[in-house]
Symmetry: C3
Subunit: 624 residues, 3 copies
Amino acid sequence: MQLGVCYYPEHWPEDRWPIDAREMAETGLSLVRIGEFAWSRIEPEPGRFDWAWLDRAIEVLHAEGLRIILGTPTATPPKWLYNQMPDMAALGRDGKARKFGSRRHYCFSHRGYREQAARITSAMAERYGSHPAIAAWQTDNEYGCHDTVQSFSPAARDAFRLWLAARYTSIDALNQAWGNVFWSMEYRSFDEIDLPNLTVTEANPAHWLAFRRFSSDQVISFNRAQVDILRESSPDRDITHNAMGFYTGYDHHDLAADLDVLGWDSYPLGFLEMFRFSEEDKCRYARQGHPDIAAFHHDLYRGCAKHGRWSVLEQQPGPVNWARHNPAPLRGMVRLWTLEAMAHGAELVSYFRWRQSPKAQEQMHAGLLRPDGEPAPALTEVKEAAANVAELGPLGAGTKHAALVFSYTSEWMTQIQPQGEGCSALWAAFNCYSALRKLGLNVDIVAPDASLDGYGLVVVPCSPIVPDALAKSLENFGGQIVIGPRSGSRDEDFAIPPTLAPGKLETLIGGKVTLSETLRPGVVYQGDDWEVAGWLDRLERPQGGATPELTANDGTVASWRNANVRYCAAWPEGALIDRLIEKAAIDGALPAARLPEGTRRRSCKNYIFEFDYLAAVASIKPQI
Amino acid sequence: MQLGVCYYPEHWPEDRWPIDAREMAETGLSLVRIGEFAWSRIEPEPGRFDWAWLDRAIEVLHAEGLRIILGTPTATPPKWLYNQMPDMAALGRDGKARKFGSRRHYCFSHRGYREQAARITSAMAERYGSHPAIAAWQTDNEYGCHDTVQSFSPAARDAFRLWLAARYTSIDALNQAWGNVFWSMEYRSFDEIDLPNLTVTEANPAHWLAFRRFSSDQVISFNRAQVDILRESSPDRDITHNAMGFYTGYDHHDLAADLDVLGWDSYPLGFLEMFRFSEEDKCRYARQGHPDIAAFHHDLYRGCAKHGRWSVLEQQPGPVNWARHNPAPLRGMVRLWTLEAMAHGAELVSYFRWRQSPKAQEQMHAGLLRPDGEPAPALTEVKEAAANVAELGPLGAGTKHAALVFSYTSEWMTQIQPQGEGCSALWAAFNCYSALRKLGLNVDIVAPDASLDGYGLVVVPCSPIVPDALAKSLENFGGQIVIGPRSGSRDEDFAIPPTLAPGKLETLIGGKVTLSETLRPGVVYQGDDWEVAGWLDRLERPQGGATPELTANDGTVASWRNANVRYCAAWPEGALIDRLIEKAAIDGALPAARLPEGTRRRSCKNYIFEFDYLAAVASIKPQI
Amino acid sequence: MQLGVCYYPEHWPEDRWPIDAREMAETGLSLVRIGEFAWSRIEPEPGRFDWAWLDRAIEVLHAEGLRIILGTPTATPPKWLYNQMPDMAALGRDGKARKFGSRRHYCFSHRGYREQAARITSAMAERYGSHPAIAAWQTDNEYGCHDTVQSFSPAARDAFRLWLAARYTSIDALNQAWGNVFWSMEYRSFDEIDLPNLTVTEANPAHWLAFRRFSSDQVISFNRAQVDILRESSPDRDITHNAMGFYTGYDHHDLAADLDVLGWDSYPLGFLEMFRFSEEDKCRYARQGHPDIAAFHHDLYRGCAKHGRWSVLEQQPGPVNWARHNPAPLRGMVRLWTLEAMAHGAELVSYFRWRQSPKAQEQMHAGLLRPDGEPAPALTEVKEAAANVAELGPLGAGTKHAALVFSYTSEWMTQIQPQGEGCSALWAAFNCYSALRKLGLNVDIVAPDASLDGYGLVVVPCSPIVPDALAKSLENFGGQIVIGPRSGSRDEDFAIPPTLAPGKLETLIGGKVTLSETLRPGVVYQGDDWEVAGWLDRLERPQGGATPELTANDGTVASWRNANVRYCAAWPEGALIDRLIEKAAIDGALPAARLPEGTRRRSCKNYIFEFDYLAAVASIKPQI
């Protein structure tokens, strides 16, 4: 694994560059990510390029032996470009244009902007494509950040109609698939279809699902256009992009298929504060992040990445500026996060950013250096981590314990139709992940069409659509299986299957879901040390089908068992999913043991890593 | 009482229709509501009608002895119509057009759409007006659903100006009535008046009240246009419409005046979850609904209905899809709800819907059949209820105990000017209703101009405007009277009367309200087992006027008494209003006795019904 | 001190005017504020003036010896004017026009409206400028009420560009100052700059700060145009304006520089309910207001006012209509508030309003008379207060104890970039003020450039920008100094200074802030009877620099001391700031002693006032 850093030479006086470069090298960093927000400096006026400064910046870094990840600057088109075609703005769900003045002010469907993005990408690729300092390219920056994947612009509407025509071929097929007869929503041609926002009450969930798929596809094709240019003009360089945390606006499996390495940006403290953790956990882990946040994404993006190549392109080094509250990490956490990324297989951890900016939107975002150029607390830890990394050598492959099946479509569907507040496929997956990890198990988060070979346990937390490949691999799977609610409850177009849920999984589970209901907080059925809450499926099962396993005091069945398959009939959360997964792990003879609060483990061929989040300590033992 | 069901033949293959029809008949259903969302199938293209399928569907149902309630499809105009005149969309209070893609995408004031609604109504009425299977017509569907009565469109603005000119005759009269001099808001002509949305701070409450009245009147005239056509082309058929729960967007007394039967749609679990019940009640009654929800509306709409004819046009049979959380009813509740509707005088309970749809917006809304066509849990209970209904025979008239006076205008006024958060006339009425019912009393919810003959007790929970008819009938009333705060506090145009509140009721109450204040949660004055909260009126009374009755420990007077009249000076809620109404009931020698938690009673000439919501049991005893 | 009242003769029949005037005089009132909402009566049609009624109203009041504060009616332009130029509307941050129908429906940058405002002001000034009854003029009414200072209209955008060009001279200077290179936000000309609303994510804080300054300047120049006309046509009359509570939309120091007397509108109960007090305080003081609300503004606006001349132009006399809950004040509070204003140096307390209006937006707002013309409870207290005021005679100057430094720019900056939820400079100032007052100290709230002579203690709660004048006066100050977090952390254009916080104060404080973090509720470091919460600065200090003073149990340093200077490293709130300020007061030998809960004191040359808010009692003792 290498260490790197994000750097913005255009922010600093040129005489500082050599000092920065030398300090980076001395710190143990070998890769520097630059360029992704520099369009206004690269092309200060339409068609007039200024490469000189960037040439020099690259030379200065290269001279210190540092290699470059060069970003295409398409996340920040300059004002002159925006003014040339103001309709390049995305429109929000409220129909309002999202203006210039920050970043990501473009609609993925705007043809004019697509041309401009290709133009600047080509220009950069031609200039630096063969430069020996260039190790890799990053396309754009954080697709979807600030909720920018869905655009409700005329450009998006026109593109959506074409996309629908390609997918459904005939308007009758679409009307039939969506059930548009329901409220006389039938269309006579694709040109009659609008975007699903601003309807009087909720639009057809099938309409939304199509729009979510379309919006994801627009990101993929926008990215692919850059990839194609870069492959052509800059052969043998890796192409990467930086994904985000708890973000599901586009299908990362699809994006990763076009990349060599999938990167992501890890901000454990900001994520803890802004996402749905309990108040208790938000306080307990305020300076560490919940112990599953970083690892969940490591394992998720490793599973998305082609050939499993992934990295952390931005690593939080101190307080950030964008959460409601922005505490500093505990001493030790920057090193812990770095080693944890390594343990999960990262090929790079790149800290964001080298030096804190004294100006503009992120002036309160810490760096490895303070705004005055002196070392910030993280710098010492990065040096420690660099030494540790060098010392360890190769880790060998991660041990295979459990696979957790997750698809972006599942999360889109539960967002579109939660039925009960908070019933999200993403968070069901996170809960199951956490349950596995609290037992000390390695987890691979895999796509529905992934091979399940070699695992002792497979968990499908909530997968409304079950592709044939998944149904087949589960049937053939010899280990333990845990399946959560809503799985198999829908077809490709959001319709309930003729045989009801769990559809293709009925034989496997040994029963049919005849009624699903959701329960408000406060309506729970108490089991021993767990409870039924949030969701409840009623199962009708044939002779020899599933039998109740966990049953609440009042007789409510929380989970069913059919040979090696368990079905969680309640929402997979809290102690219930912990118990259920523990039972499966024991039945599967996996090396499961309850770890202390806040401790997590990762096993590789050569080492066992243990991460004590409460104490901010990472310890590493060789495998015996 | 008959039982019925809502059915959408256009959703299902034609070979299923006879099976459905036979099963309906076998279940004990005799009426089937169809057609109200089928415009795109009736008129797939502008001017091209396809009646054949509907002819056949009606025949199939008729062949099983079922009779039809046929809906006009004006709640779901097709896309081709919307595209012909996109300005038919209502504009929201935020000024944004509410687009096609769900239902109710029209503005009640749009002349073009009014013509189209008349056209399709005429076409249906001519086709089926004399068909022997047609028992009744339903106009449109759930006027106002998804907050669609108020539209802020140019069409509404123009219509509002005409409405104002008709009401006030001269602009000076309007300026004077509204007090427009206040902030130089005086108009020089009706054409200067805009809709009251998007003002810098709140608009004149008189402006809002006029707009609320106008908006209600637009619904009434929209509906009347359909009624006129149907009466002409389909004589001797009942005309009905389905009102909603806790919905006050238009004046239901006015609407019902044009109908033969007023229907409503009863979803006790959804209403409990979405409306303002305590967290405790939302959990305690999650699978039953609060025991006063259904009955309140039965008694309200019976009071609205011409000749007291009313029905339940949609009855919840299982989980719905539209509340934050959607639990399943307890076994027994569908039968209980059915018998309760009967006890309150319904002439029909129609379940929504026959079969759960596998597609579109309501795919998670239960039916009597599951999506796979098999019986859902409710079906058994419907059969039981059908048997019970058949067994009981005529109930005789409901016993007259208490009248509760409610007007829609009152609720509009407390919405426009709550003065204290949560002080709503509707919920004041609900609280008083609940207090009466917990004592086992029958309640008639009546309009302010209704006769009060035969009652032992009259409650006026909160009636800012007191029409002369009400003032007179209260003066002449010999029984006990309870009057709540704000009553008589305004004239027809929202002005404080020259003599202050309670205006026309001053002699009756025996005092004048000289100061009204509102109290935040946490500021309460403790009485014995009740408290003063939310609102407090200070009363100045003459010699021989009202005397304090309930007085808090610190001397704050919660209620006043003047002979047979009690004035509740605090907000009518909680134990205070329970005690006050109990005192009045005792003084009036009504058969009042505190029922156990969750139990309610309804007395008719021939039977006494008792509904135990906690146990989900309905029991019926003959009157002795 | 004089007493006065706000009066609207245009609301009442002319034959009532003499009765009102006589009663005012008998009550002990000597000044009457009129005219500020009467445009539609003064100029009922474009260019046609009707002065007759206003002439008579002024004569009637004058005949009773009352003198007039005459308001320019520019807060309520009539509909005919709005219709002449609909683009005079301000646009909200959401880009929507804010329509006619209430008040303040204008954009401060609209040239056409500026001309109209000048025209009506000239007309009034010419008519009444030399009238002997006219004691003073009030410009407009409550600038900024209903969030009307910031407008996002084309007029505002154009004016903003001119303002920026004047401030920064060259676009390069602006780009450099704002750090626009950060996300390629560089502009090529001032004409490329838009308003900072509706950006994809937050705009540059420097962009927002410039817009806040610009918006404030537009109010100042709008007001100055009226002042210039009035000074010309009505010499020797005071000019005033009524500011609001907890309102920081424009810089009141700047506005006051153009006025003779700065007025403000005091609504203690409404402010308690609507602003950020604890639920406990909102209940405890529901009928009194928090004991520091009124005094804080008295001391703030005295500090803003030229020559220290200030008044209460509107004083709450009973329940208001605009808070979530609107209780009545405790008997005694109207007298207490009046005497408290006197104790703090007001030259006028004017009650709002003489008589409660039976119509329009404020019909639930109490007056000294009820809507029926009879005395409301406050009238008795006003008579008592008038007698007290007459009895006391001159108070002499307020004793100088502590100065508290506050600037509007500080609050704008913490609003733009709170970094931790709730970290506001205004509320930091309020907390420090409250801490001082609980010790019985007099406080002067002063601008950063004010002289600090004569004080024993200076508090700078949170001043991101430290002007040179403040740095110098603190250096030269011999007494005790308390400085709060973020002080000195920014330059004039929102950039972190090259030496980091506290910038110019580093030597004074004896340390450098190397890291700032914010803490969520629940993450606290416990000290003896106080805690570190909300914010935490880490200090690096040289030999002989600051030393820790208050240290939490875990070693976290809450405050630092360097000779006579204390630095509060945590958010200044709760017991921590109370302790810290008490220590400083003791070290400074100020006459500090903890007062009982709810009691406050104000010392003048001749008297000591004590205000017991819990008991609603004001007591006055001569100085010994």
